[in-house]
Symmetry: C2
């Protein structure tokens, strides 16, 4: 497709380009634009019917949006701004340089400008920053029939009309009613009689993770957002929440692999930023690992008398790290999905203790057999390695269970207590156990 379009552009067959493009869905057009260069993008973009162009624009990456905005006329910009859904416009403005935002605000009407400024000021990752103002509000005195007629007149522009919001004269939220109920209910009843007053809502400053959790728990497709006075300010729709869930998960993956999270996709983030995000934690962990080195140096006498002990260090360290990561990953994930809570602390510790023992025994036995029968080494060395393995695995599992919950309790992000940090800690513990065992059993 991409090549076809580029060829058609080269041959200046613009009507054919247009014919090909309008057959596609807006998301797919946006994807295509992201794969061709900016000047070709502009040609395709200008060939689109106006409404489709706005839709495609809302799906473009920030970089491509910026490129197009810089190339089109003020009038074209104005049209896009007028037609974009309010939340898409805010998302776009948040990523644009101040010069572009200024230019757009200058062209906006007085009241719209005030609203844009208000929305741009909600903290990042808050409910306020996710919401849109395209929703449908009704009055409780209306009958269902009147409400439906009202929707027929005004509903076209609203991003979601499947849930309508009932507000009073002060815009305070009084209830919700689904389009399903409006359509299937008796048409003479008033909204007050059938509306749902037990509303699930969030406030503008609630965190997006909380919002996502409510969507999942109560199977919502939209949620109202109110201010401190319980006035309805906007709604958040499920498509935006799907993006939040992906972003939050990506963030957890990144933190758990010892990186500062990036907002943008990998291929869209520049090399220097990616390198910076990785270096901080690597440095911290590297410095911490030098303490593990100190442990080895303090046991240098043990190592000098039985050099073969060094050969087991990688295996012991890797296994300890892996065992700890397994536990911490499960607990971090459980906490994120709210399947594990702080009060489950003792349950988790007890469970990890049992799992650690089972896994530890299995690994120790395999190692003992391997060292004694296959490697034909001294049985004593086998026992040192096997018992170190057992204690290390149990310790790793305990720490992997304990640290993420402790982090949550201390209001830190549990995702920080993942593999890399746990590995650094249990590596040190593993070596201490190892050399102490060696001293004890080999009589060094």
């Amino acid at each position: 497709m991409r090549d076809l379009i580029i060829n058609l552009i080269r041959e200046k067959k613009f009507t054919l380009v247009r014919d090909e493009i309008v057959k596609m869905k807006s998301v797919d057009i946006a994807e295509l634009l992201s794969e061709i260069d900016d000047s070709d993008s502009l040609i395709v973009f200008r060939l689109l019917p106006k409404d489709l162009a706005v839709e495609v624009f809302s799906y473009l990456h920030n970089e491509k949006q910026k490129a197009i905005i810089n190339l089109i006329t003020d009038k074209e910009i104005q049209h896009i701004m007028d037609e974009l859904y309010f939340d898409d416009m805010i998302d776009f403005l948040e990523e644009m340089p101040a010069s572009i935002v200024k230019k757009i605000l200058k062209n906006a009407k007085e009241d719209e400008r005030a609203l844009i400024n208000q929305f741009l000021n909600y903290p990042e990752n808050s409910a306020g920053s996710l919401m849109t103002i395209e929703y449908l509000s009704l009055k409780k005195e209306m009958t269902l029939k009147q409400a439906l007629e009202h929707i027929k007149r005004t509903g076209f522009d609203k991003e979601t009309i499947y849930t309508c919001y009932v507000i009073d004269a002060n815009r305070k939220l009084q209830g919700t009613i689904s389009l399903r109920k409006l359509v299937t209910g008796e048409e003479d009843k008033t909204i007050e009689e059938v509306m749902n007053t037990d509303i699930i809502y969030v406030t503008t400053h609630d965190d997006q993770e909380k919002v996502a959790h409510l969507f999942k728990k109560y199977d919502l497709i939209a949620i109202p957002v109110v201010d401190k006075e319980h006035r309805l300010i906007g709604i958040i729709t499920i498509d935006d929440i799907m993006d939040v869930i992906d972003k939050e998960n990506t963030e957890d993956f990144q933190k758990m692999a010892a990186m500062e999270p990036s907002e943008e996709a990998y291929l869209e983030t520049n090399t220097f930023t990616l390198a910076k995000h990785r270096t901080t934690w690597l440095l911290v962990l590297m410095i911490s690992a030098t303490f593990t080195g100190r442990i080895i140096r303090s046991f240098e006498d043990v190592l000098e008398s039985v050099v073969v002990l060094a050969a087991f260090i990688p295996m012991l360290m890797d296994t300890a790290g892996n065992a700890g990561s397994q536990s911490s990953t499960l607990i971090i994930r459980g906490l994120a999905l709210e399947q594990i809570k702080i009060k489950d602390f003792t349950k988790v510790i007890w469970k990890e203790l049992k799992i650690g023992s089972l896994v530890g025994i299995a690994l120790s036995v395999v190692n003992l057999v391997r060292i004694y029968y296959f490697e034909k080494m001294d049985m004593k060395i086998g026992i040192v390695v096997a018992s170190t393995l057992y204690f290390t695995v149990v310790l790793a599992k305990l720490l992997g269970g304990l640290l993420p919950i402790a982090a949550r309790k201390l209001k830190l992000d549990p995702a920080l207590m993942a593999g890399p940090l746990i590995t650094t800690i249990v590596d040190a513990l593993a070596l201490i156990v190892y050399f102490s065992m060696a001293r004890l059993l080999l009589g060094i």
Copy 2:
């Protein structure tokens, strides 16, 4: 809440229990039941109004569902089965032991039994296993007005009526129409004139990950499922897809921490299963790590002449592992979200090479300064460690970028190429580089 309810049960104040409970949302009641024992659960469950009881039942964990089914009468079971949404019933039956399934099937009507058997046979994680049969179908000859009246008569029971499906006499899917269009469109037009014929659909055997991807890409709230003959079989709604996304992410987290994935939540999985899921990979990685041990043994002469070299092994291994995990995590995540594709291979490798160099230089310089100025060691040792660090980080980043994409290319799960496996590989490489450098620069 939990304690209040338990106390009220102990004091046999059942009307008060009922009054407290019916004020709650069904999900919250289900959560409460999961926190009290089975006999108390049964009491609360039986106090619920019938419809609410069914709703609560659909939100319960499998274990609790099983417990309640074992305690209630056949007639009560029958009522629950009749009232459950079809997909919830299938989900439930899939987890029940054969004896219970048999009993339920025996009580079902002939045609329902056939349908249940058909649904139970769809492969796990397929679109077929996720879908429900509660959808609304319309004929294209209807006017919008007729359609709305039809929905009014029949729509109550359908799980989602926000998208209606237009089918012909052979049940073949011809188009879709949103309730929004039905309500806001001109009522004399026929459905054929306004329906959308460019339908996004899946087939019964499509994988759930593909389904989830379509929901996200096209901002859907439901998707039709057709068979090979393009006949409409069912629909999948977004609430089930949210669960799929959580599950797929959890699975990736588990695989990336070297575990076989568990279906159930951590606290609901028994110790033995958890231990088993963790042991396999730990054993594989442990055995692999012994090769790293062999590398150390083959360089025993180097280690014997400069024992202090052993002190840097933990730091080098940990840093190499962390650097590799960072890259592989980002690439695995990018592949999962389809932000990175196989064709981006060279872009990724080139990017990781640049990042690896930047990060490698930063870490090496810090180490050189530390070893020479703070630890007051021989400059030569500093150079050995720093240059090993540089080469190892670059190698780790390259492998972290390369292996997940290679896995995808080979139709393996990229998530397997995560931290633990990469760590094992780069640890071995790190040690080879380390001792070779030492031989070269220290002249051993």
